[in-house]
């Protein structure tokens, strides 16, 4: 049972890495700026999931705080970038 659990955590880690690479492709290629912001937002989410999976992998509860911080900063940066795209300034 423990082996199956270990294998499934490995699968999840590898597929999250694949997701990060796919986001990176869209981030580099994206024809418009809004595509890049969308890719960056998804990238934050994927990194948060990756950190959570690392916590499960090492069996440690410390990683939870890192994931929470990543979610917080990701939200703020997405909002700031979207606002910037809309008007060209962040605080009106």
């Amino acid at each position: 049972m423990k082996l199956a659990l270990e294998i499934s955590i490995y699968i999840a880690l590898i597929s999250t890495m694949l997701a990060i690479v796919l986001c990176g492709i869209r981030l580099l290629r994206g024809p418009t700026s809004q595509d890049r912001v969308l890719a960056l937002d998804t990238l934050w989410m994927c990194i948060m999931i990756f950190v959570l999976l690392l916590g499960m992998f090492f069996g440690s509860l410390i990683y939870f705080e890192i994931a929470l911080l990543i979610a917080l900063t990701g939200f703020v940066s997405t909002m700031a970038l979207a606002k910037f795209l809309m008007r060209g300034e962040i605080i009106e």
Partner: protein, 113 residues
């Protein structure tokens, strides 16, 4: 090389494996949509499934795993769940509005040429 304090019961392990595999499938499909789909308005729907269902199932798996190995209720992942479910819609809405405004401005610029 997972360091576990105690052995995990079989039913919990099966649930964790199920949610992990579901989550990893959904995460890859969502970002695949980000790469494969045609224009921005279609692309914004791809990551939505990564953010809702992918994050949700990984968080549920984490809650079950830690609760069963630490022999107490470990549910602080609920904070991340609540935060993500409250903020992800806002991000999507702001990006959509920004894209619509930019598209409209681009159109006006093209017409005035």
């Amino acid at each position: 090389m997972i360091n576990m304090a105690n052995d995990i019961p079989a039913w919990a392990a099966i649930l964790v494996i199920f949610f992990l595999l579901l989550g990893s499938f959904i995460i890859v499909v969502g970002t695949l949509g980000l790469v494969r789909l045609g224009d921005f308005y279609q692309r914004i729907h791809g990551p939505a499934i990564t953010i809702t269902l992918g994050t949700g199932s990984v968080l549920i798996a984490s809650m079950i795993l830690f609760s069963s190995t630490h022999e107490r209720l470990v549910i602080h992942e609920l904070l991340i769940t609540a935060f993500v479910f409250l903020t992800a819609p806002l991000g999507a809405m702001m990006m959509m509005r920004a894209a619509v405004y930019r598209g409209r401005r681009q159109q006006q610029r093209d017409e005035s040429k």
